[in-house]
């Protein structure tokens, strides 16, 4: 018997496959002396075990979830300014790029069947180098049963943690850190999974955990929660009673039976009692009057499927009803459901959702979590890691290392492995900086960064997936080329290509795997995959070169701007911003040009631009505002690309704002993404410009021009997850203008973002499909100046 990997690397790991004979289990949960072996690429499942510490384990009725913390060594590209004094700067690169090792923290979670617990413990023991770990936090109903086995195998002391405390800690952690963690389930709509925007305030909520019984817990804050009720009719009732009624032993098989059955053969419906009069009486004839009300006879046979379905309805409705009654009593409208009864099973999510809608008349929402299965393990881990203060940091889902949400419906996913016998993984990276909402968001609770929901929009999904597929070879090639001195770069680039290709295929089948599918998530996943194979910054050299070239043109651009009259100059500045924005290696139409026309420059870019009136054109209002209104107090600018964009587009614009008396906060990405300018690059660029330009120089010195980092490494922009320092500064400086530049930040995301202050969103559409969608042509211009309505 082979375990099939629950990752998109399935079938690819043959080279590193290992085989373990599973030992007959003493006290290992009844798998007996099965002649099992598992074939799996170990480094793909128990990743980074060498550095692992702080183990936690959550053993449920059938699944084990293992958690550990590790540090990951990453290559990062660093830039360092040269000392140019006395040197021939003409032929020297602008700055030095060095690849360094960086250590980042990562959380690993692995889910597997209890059957493999012994095998997995053996594997961990053999690969665990770190010896400082002494205890393993354990939770879940099975923790007692496997205590001795764990202690013996790992030599760690098992430290038991309360199940519910762990669940809630885990739930809070996910709600705070993982965007699109929460979804509502709608079976009969085009999108089964309706992912929710993370509300800035996650409390209070109701957590209904449906294990063998049901626990209903009210969570009021990080540390305050209360068991307010429960019910004995839960997953155990479905399983136990189902096994008695249908002679079907496995939970999953019972659910399968249920999904094929007709409950109306077993249940007494309202229309069975009232006959045809339901319609005239305004009654819903299909409601169940009495569960199993038709089986009150000894001389009729009922099918297993029908009984299982009736049982499922009975239990789901009952739980939904009780949950609503508790929600009403405690005045709550968010209910998160978890536990093995739910665990991603569409049929139970559907019946629970129906029940909640029915009993609450739509006032309460049934919500589910993408990583629901990991709540206990996350909570247990957090209990053990309190001294690391994991709650002080922001964490992000690593799309490269996480399996994503799998549909359990076999028809949805043809490559579907059976639910059992799979390994599922979830990884979170600790972000260097805490992330918060931009204080200028009009309504953080309804802010959705992404313009197009590709889970919803099948046409757009198809287009973008194909687009990313087609661009993949080029990205892999560039990644390999970016490390000419590395022997294994081509091999790693190929691995990257494979991995991202497989992710794209997974997303074709299950667009909901990582939350709402968007252009942003596709871009971010690509960045994660590149990092995974140590291509931290494939464009570093391109950016270096382009920055160098652009800097040489800075002064002449400024001179020609300064020679213009005020009104002409304003237009030239905007045109410069837009032309700069043409230089985007992320856009295929542009990268093709840039690849074959290295001399393609600022003037050529300007000539590509659409003539006014632009596709979206509120330039006149902007000009009017500049002409008539007082200077802005402070402008926050989110910059896009390196080179011409930042140096010849953004900086002259910044310079003009400064001259008007407006302070400027220039925000660049913390980490690299495509040819986007990073914070550290922006520092060098600003320094070089300051050396040439007194306006910039004094503004920097007087802190009227401030360079900050966004906290992000994405080509797009999520205004609800920004560096805390940026947010503080924005508030301190009373920022009253936000300028968002580029396709990724102003069109794929934030096109519809509503802010409390004036905003300017500008971009050049460098993709003909998108241009077409927006009713324009390639190189159409978006210039969207918005003033919030008072």
């Amino acid at each position: 018997m082979h375990i099939h990997l629950h990752t998109d690397e399935a079938g690819r790991g043959a080279g590193i496959a290992f085989k373990m004979a599973e030992r007959g289990g003493r006290g290992s949960g009844g798998h007996g002396s099965l002649d099992k072996s598992i074939t799996l690429p170990p480094d793909e499942i128990f990743r980074n075990l060498e550095n692992a510490k702080r183990f936690a384990i959550d053993i449920g009725g059938s699944l084990t979830k293992l958690a550990y913390y590790s540090t990951v060594q990453h290559k990062v590209a660093r830039v360092r300014s040269f000392d140019h004094s006395g040197k021939d700067i003409e032929n020297e690169p602008l700055y030095e790029i060095s690849v360094q090792e960086e250590i980042t923290a990562r959380l690993h979670f692995i889910k597997f069947e209890n059957n493999y617990i012994e095998t997995c413990l053996d594997f961990i023991k053999d690969h665990l180098v770190n010896t400082e770990t002494k205890v393993i936090k354990a939770t879940g109903g099975g923790a007692y049963k496997f205590k001795d086995l764990i202690e013996k195998k790992l030599g760690l002391k098992v430290d038991k943690e309360d199940v519910m405390t762990c669940l809630i800690k885990g739930c809070n952690f996910l709600l705070r850190n993982i965007p699109h963690e929460v979804f509502a389930y709608q079976k009969d709509s085009d999108t089964e999974f309706r992912f929710q925007t993370n509300h800035p305030n996650i409390f209070p909520y109701l957590l209904v955990n449906i294990g063998s019984g049901v626990s209903i817990v009210k969570v009021e804050s990080e540390d305050k929660f209360e068991w307010i009720g429960g019910s004995s009719i839960g997953g155990g009732t479905f399983w136990g009673l189902g096994a008695l009624l249908t002679k079907t032993k496995k939970f999953d098989e019972l659910l399968q039976l249920a999904s094929k059955g007709q409950h109306t053969n077993v249940d007494m419906l309202v229309k069975d009692v009232y006959g045809g009069a339901c319609q005239t009486l305004g009654l819903s004839g299909n409601l169940i009057a009495s569960s199993f009300g038709k089986s009150t006879t000894a001389d009729k046979e009922f099918s297993k499927e029908d009984m299982a379905k009736s049982l499922l309805h009975m239990i789901s409705n009952d739980i939904g009803q009780l949950a609503c009654l508790y929600a009403k009593l405690h005045n709550l409208n968010k209910i998160y459901f978890g536990g093995f009864f739910i665990r991603g099973h569409p049929v139970t999510m559907r019946t629970i959702t129906f029940s909640i809608n029915f009993f609450s008349k739509g006032e309460v929402q049934a919500l589910f979590l993408r990583h629901e299965g990991y709540l206990g393990a996350i909570g247990a881990f957090l209990k053990g890691a309190e001294q690391d203060n994991p709650n002080q940091y922001s964490w992000g889902e690593n799309y490269a290392g996480s399996s994503g949400l799998m549909s359990t419906s076999p028809d949805v996913y043809p490559m579907q492995r059976s639910r059992s016998g799979t390994f599922d993984m979830f990884e979170m990276d600790r972000l260097e900086r805490p992330l918060v909402n931009l204080p200028l968001l009009k309504d953080p609770s309804t802010y959705i960064p992404d313009t197009v929901d590709l889970t919803d929009d099948a046409m757009a999904r198809k287009y973008w997936l194909t687009c990313f597929e087609e661009a993949l070879d080029g990205v892999a090639k560039r990644a390999a080329a970016s490390q000419p001195d590395s022997v294994d770069a081509p091999e790693r680039a190929e691995k990257f290509r494979q991995k991202y290709w497989n992710k794209l295929q997974t997303l074709r089948q299950q667009p909901f795997a990582y939350g709402t599918l968007t252009v942003r998530s596709l871009l971010d996943t690509r960045e994660h995959c590149l990092n995974e194979f140590n291509f931290p910054d494939p464009y570093s050299k391109v950016k270096q070169k382009e920055n160098g070239i652009a800097l040489k043109c800075f002064q002449s651009v400024i001179e020609s701007l300064d020679s213009l009259g005020w009104e002409e100059r304003q237009f030239a500045l905007v045109k410069g911003l837009l032309a700069g924005n043409v230089f985007d290696w992320g856009a295929k139409a542009v990268s093709d040009v840039l690849e074959c026309e290295p001399q393609f420059g600022f003037e050529e870019a300007k000539s590509k631009l659409q003539e006014r009136p632009w596709l979206e054109d509120s330039y006149s209002q902007w000009l009017e505002r500049l002409k008539e209104g007082p200077p802005h107090k402070c402008a926050l600018i989110f910059a896009d690309n390196s080179g011409i964009d930042i140096i010849l587009g953004v900086f002259p614009f910044v310079r003009e704002l400064l001259s008007r008396g407006t302070e400027v906060i220039l925000a660049c990405n913390s980490g690299p993404a495509l040819n986007d300018v990073t914070y550290s690059e922006s520092l060098i660029v600003a320094e070089r410009i300051a050396a040439m330009d007194p306006v910039i120089q004094s503004a920097l010195r007087e802190e009227k021009l401030l360079l900050v980092q966004t906290g992000s490494s994405s080509p797009c922009l999520d205004l609800s997850r920004l560096d805390k320092g940026l947010a503080v500064l924005v508030r301190e400086r009373k920022t009253d203008l936000v300028i968002i530049e580029g396709m990724g930040r102003a069109i794929h995301t934030n096109y519809y973002a509503a802010l409390k202050c004036e905003s300017l969103k500008l971009a050049v559409i460098k993709n003909s499909w998108l241009a077409d969608r927006l009713g324009g042509k390639i190189f159409s211009v978006i210039f969207k100046y918005e003033v919030p309505c008072k």
Partner: protein, 424 residues
């Protein structure tokens, strides 16, 4: 099977009456013809001497006999019949044969066919209704025998009496057409909940042959000291009324006219009985109850102590509480070790506790502390009543009181009868 016609001790009597009915048919037909001349609010009067009496009834704001109230539920039909005991000799002579037959048939039998039963112990004696003295009889039979019942009505020429049949329950709608086509009878359909509340308030007000209709269990959490005691429901409002039939309806009652349907659940008596049939192969409610009374549900259910070894102190859950109903049945070994009795008991406690739990939550949401449980699920079911009394008391820390009524499932039918009398 036509239970009203076959089997049972009443069989012979029934056949004799059928023969009589046949003999009377011609007389009856003639009477109908004459009836068209009759005046008054009753559209059609039986002719002859009887019409004198019947007009007398109308004049005194009384509907003509017979007085029935019918509640046709999903599983059971409940029938209440008022038997006038103050019939004078003159009246007796004038009484239409058909009417007399019905009266005699119903009052001289305790079982009708194989499935119809008169709950003699519930009979209310020496009642005065609309100025007439008599006894109120309580009869029930399964809803699936409804066609046979209508057939009988037809054979007994019920339609010739031109009485109004007041019926409530879903079956009043479902069988309306059958009554009309098979029995030539027009039903007056009445709202289920109106009837239920009307019936409860009325029966409680007249008492149970000198005893209290309403009762409760004192010390419900103490098996030694727990006892059934009368409860004075003189000032009943507000109260939560939980009607457990095949399914369950929960009403918040604030006054005679002011009440609200709060919620309902499909896990009711029908669920208990239906699951018992599937799990144990039993075929009657009595059998199911009997098995339940001899079973041990703790073999079937997973208790808190089965999981935590004792109380779950973190949440204040006692070890004896059921953590997962049928939870032990997830294991093959335990499935093989339980008896049918254990399964019946577990089914009973599961359904009962769940109803208790929903009722308790409704009481809290509505801010009502008296909960009255009615419905035929509670018939011969002290186990459930004590469980409900216990659960309500324990989980509310003594704040909620469970009350019960002697006439369990008959209030809808009583309400229907009262509607008949009110309408006259």
């Amino acid at each position: 099977m036509e239970p009203w016609h076959n089997g049972g001790g009443a069989d012979e009597k029934l056949r004799r009456q059928e023969a009589e009915a046949g003999n009377l048919r011609r007389w009856s037909c003639g009477g109908t013809g004459a009836g068209s001349a009759a005046a008054g609010p009753e559209p059609c009067e039986a002719g002859g001497a009887a019409s004198v009496l019947r007009r007398d009834s109308v004049r005194k704001n009384r509907p003509p006999f017979p007085w029935f109230g019918l509640d046709i539920g999903g599983t059971l039909v409940k029938l209440v019949y008022f038997e006038p005991k103050d019939i004078t000799a003159e009246e007796e002579d004038e009484e239409v044969e058909n009417l007399k037959n019905i009266r005699k048939y119903l009052t001289s039998n305790v079982a009708y066919g194989s499935t119809g039963i008169r709950d003699v112990h519930l009979e209310l004696k020496d009642l005065t209704l609309c100025g007439r003295k008599g006894n109120l009889h309580f009869i029930r039979f399964p809803t699936h025998d409804m066609p046979a019942f209508i057939q009988m009505g037809s054979e007994k020429h019920f339609s010739s009496l031109h009485t109004t049949i007041c019926a409530t329950g879903g079956g009043a709608y479902k069988f309306e057409q059958d009554f009309l086509t098979m029995g030539d009878l027009q039903l007056r359909k009445l709202d289920e909940l109106d009837c239920l509340i009307k019936g409860v308030l009325y029966i409680d007000s007249i008492g149970f042959n000198g005893n209290s209709e309403c009762y409760y269990f004192e010390h419900p959490t103490d098996t030694e000291r727990c006892q059934k005691l009368p409860f004075n429901l003189e000032n009943p409002y507000p109260l939560l009324l939980v009607n457990i039939g095949s399914g369950v309806s929960i009403l918040a009652v604030y006054s005679k006219e002011n009440y609200r349907w709060v919620t309902g659940t499909s896990l009711g008596g029908g669920t208990f009985f239906g699951l018992c049939c599937l799990l144990t192969g039993c075929s009657t409610f009595e059998e199911a109850m009997d098995m339940a009374s001899h079973g041990d549900s703790t073999k079937v259910d997973k208790l808190v102590r089965d999981i935590y070894g004792g109380d779950y102190e973190r949440f204040g859950l006692p070890g004896w509480a059921v953590a997962s109903s049928f939870g032990n049945m997830m294991s093959k070994e335990k499935r093989e070790a339980v008896s049918k009795e254990d399964l019946a008991k577990a089914t009973l406690t599961t359904i009962t506790n769940n109803i208790g739990s929903i009722a308790r939550m409704c009481a809290l949401n509505e801010n009502i502390n008296r909960v009255v449980f009615v419905g035929n699920f509670l018939r011969i079911n002290t186990i459930s009543m004590r469980l409900l009394a216990y659960a309500l008391d324990y989980w509310s820390k003594g704040q909620l009181k469970a009350l019960f009524l002697e006439h369990e499932g008959y209030f809808g039918a009583v309400g229907a009868l009262l509607e008949l009398l009110d309408s006259a």
